[in-house]
């Protein structure tokens, strides 16, 4: 998404990205970015919470209007939960047994093969 935003921006269309993966988006280097400190999959706000979604979009619109320079990130003040316990659960490799790892490896080989077949069939 970062690469697409860069291309549109360089071609004269102002862009804003709404996302959750702060390090990945900023590593790419994008013109404007609204960061929600939410689990990946909730770039546009909290599920079934219109107010959260409206506030998140408004941050993006305000950023389009006010950014003074590229690579401007605005951090949404919204919290997923009061504490940070959820942040330790994503891809927690420390919790996997050798059997889990072997199983996940097999699954990922399948996923890669399926993706490749679909890509080549497109």
């Amino acid at each position: 998404m970062g690469l697409a935003a860069r291309h549109l921006e360089a071609s004269g269309i102002p862009t804003v990205i709404m996302g959750c993966a702060k390090d990945i988006v900023e590593h790419c280097g994008v013109p404007r970015f609204v960061w929600s400190d939410f689990p990946l999959g909730n770039s546009a706000g909290r599920p079934f919470d219109v107010e959260s979604q409206t506030r998140t979009l408004e941050l993006a619109l305000r950023l389009l209007e006010t950014a003074a320079a590229p690579r401007t990130t605005v951090a949404s003040p919204l919290r997923w939960t009061a504490d940070a316990a959820w942040k330790h659960k994503y891809l927690d490799v420390g919790k996997l047994s050798p059997e889990d790892i072997a199983e996940r490896r097999k699954e990922f080989e399948v996923v890669k093969a399926v993706a490749k077949a679909k890509r080549e069939g497109t």
Binding site: R6, I13, P39, G41, S43, A44, P47, L91, V93
Partner: protein, 185 residues
């Protein structure tokens, strides 16, 4: 703070947030995970600068393009429900566009969202189409483009840069878009 002192001792009465309450380091986490599984590391796109085009018209007059990485539901592609495991068969490899006038059925089973912490049952949490339409109705933006656009989550940076990004630009221009809101899922 002097050497050897603790933050607590140095700042009586100030309650800092816990040290671990920071942005998740997804690149490190992903790298460690796939290394543990025995796969070679992915290289994320990286630039130290970025282009910039200032907004030249009021947003109230601007037509907004919406770009998503969500995928249209594909009946033949297996489980794409909110609790589906990662489903590579539901991926797509070409830019697609669909009209904004009816609520689209868009899923994210084809990407690595945070399955440990969230269940994507509400489209509006990953595709802000309804909220954009409300913003248009309220006069906050001039309007939403006639179509939204789907960007493939292609692991090939070359394809993204040489094929997909120019195609998205072409379609945004065709739609008369003045600005674009891009929402990865």
């Amino acid at each position: 703070m002097s050497a050897g002192s603790t933050p607590e001792a140095a700042t009586p009465g100030i309650q800092f947030a816990p040290e671990d309450d920071v942005a998740i380091r997804y690149m490190d986490r992903t790298r460690e995970y796939y290394e543990a599984l025995g796969f070679s590391p992915y290289r994320w796109a990286h630039f130290t600068d970025a282009p910039f085009t200032p907004l030249r018209i009021p947003l109230a007059k601007a037509r907004v393009a919406l770009i998503t990485t969500a995928a249209p539901f594909q009946p033949e592609a297996g489980d794409q429900g909110p609790r589906a495991p990662y489903n590579a068969a539901a991926k797509f490899y070409q830019v697609y566009s669909a009209p904004v006038d009816s609520k689209p059925d868009l899923r994210i089973s084809h990407v690595g969202y945070d399955r440990a912490n969230t269940v994507p049952e509400d489209l509006d949490a990953y595709v802000p189409l309804a909220r954009l339409q409300e913003a248009a109705a309220a006069g906050r933006i001039g309007g939403v483009g006639p179509r939204f656009h789907g960007a493939p989550t292609n692991r090939s940076h070359r394809v993204t840069v040489e094929t997909d990004a120019p195609e998205l630009l072409r379609r945004c221009r065709e739609d008369g878009a003045d600005v674009a809101v891009l929402v990865p899922s």
